[in-house]
Symmetry: C2
Subunit: 217 residues, 2 copies
DNA sequence: CCTACCGATCGGTAGG
DNA sequence: CCTACCGATCGGTAGG
């Protein structure tokens, strides 16, 4: 199959870069993980920097697959839209925490280059979600003092950071019945929701759902 | 002066480790930054790992100086206590964002070792703040559905991450009158406050302050 | 705190 | 995709 080794290199490089960072990952280590020799890695990616960029591009293109589902959430309103958006966000990093780890590392290692990349790849949908929030402020369901763009970035930060540092942050508290990750994500969603909607709105919606037979999850 | 070079090494190492990470920082680079030769660095710190640990210990001991001020906030109540605690937290990382960068990097590079360190150095005051929150839940000023430990960790995450990635995350939105950092911190405080206190409590307190002549900052 | 030096490993290339 | 090889740099040591 064409590109099979290339895909394996990309996969193992993602894993190693997430765990040990760019400077902490040698091309030899990537080659060993795949089961080829080092020059074969450099046949598929002309330099180590090239491989780094390919890993990042692959990650961002996966995120691009999620975005349309965020935009489709336009048909929903209020709380349902919120839950759709935050579900996609948390799910993306929960599906593979290495995504969160690589993004955090790149943000620290190359802040200037990441500025451009975020501006192109992230800002558009931040603006879309910020516009949802402003719409909610006009209709009165969202708190008027929410500052939409920083709000969105803080919610993303919590998801990104919580999942990137799993399980390092876990032993800072002992779980009840649920595991630490579930408890962390649960509180993240509660926190984001309580800070966004006006008093009584969420409770009102919950009551409505209960009357309708508890369709919400 | 005794230990002057040692202190310079510690200072430059902190700067370089924050910017480039452990694997991305050579002992030669540290020596050059201080203006000594490489073996002199290894005279003060017997290995590169030793230097890393000294940098981390120095950072944590600075945090230990802040903690008593958090505990002293016990005398205050409700909103004033919240503002004292979050002010110390944000101030610590805002004073030197390299602190945030090093903590994030160490969390990614050595999750297991950091677990033990956090358990010893961070968990105690997380528990204290969590107890403040439970107290507020008993007296009815804090929302009953707040999960105290994950709440505290998420607020810490936002402060840590926002300041670690300054200014990389800035161009994701254009500021109003204020700069992006002020806007980010302002929304962080608003978000944390709105997600913590029960409906009406904050507004009630603000009204009281206004009547008393606007003493709040 | 310095000079001189060590073996190991780094990213990358030539050539097949 | 491999063998063989390159100069540069790595963390660390001996000895003063």
């Amino acid at each position: 199959m064409v590109g099979q080794v290339r895909d394996q290199v990309l996969h193992e490089a993602t894993r190693l870069l997430a765990r040990h960072g760019f400077e902490g990952t040698s091309l030899q280590a990537v080659a060993d993980a795949v089961g080829v020799k080092k020059p074969s890695v450099l046949y598929h990616f002309k330099s180590k920097e090239d491989l780094r960029q390919a890993v990042l591009d692959s990650l961002l293109s996966r995120w691009s697959e999620v975005v349309p589902r965020l935009l489709m959430a336009s048909t929903r309103t209020g709380l349902a839209k919120f839950e759709a958006v935050i579900g996609e966000l948390v799910g993306f990093f929960a599906d593979d925490p290495d995504r969160a780890r690589i993004l955090v590392r790149e943000l620290l290692d190359r802040p200037e280059q990441m500025q451009e990349i975020l501006q192109r790849q992230v800002r558009p949908w931040v603006e879309v979600v910020a516009e949802y929030i402003r719409e909610g402020q006009r209709t009165g369901t969202v708190r008027p003092d929410v500052d939409p763009e920083p709000y969105v970035l803080h919610v993303v930060s919590m998801a990104l950071f919580s999942l990137a540092t799993t399980p390092a942050a876990s032993p800072l508290f002992e779980g009840g019945g649920r595991g630490p990750v579930e408890r962390t994500v649960g509180e993240l969603v509660r926190l984001a929701k309580a800070a966004l909607f006006v008093d009584g709105y969420v409770r009102h919606q919950d009551d409505k759902r209960a009357r309708q037979g508890g369709a919400g999850r």
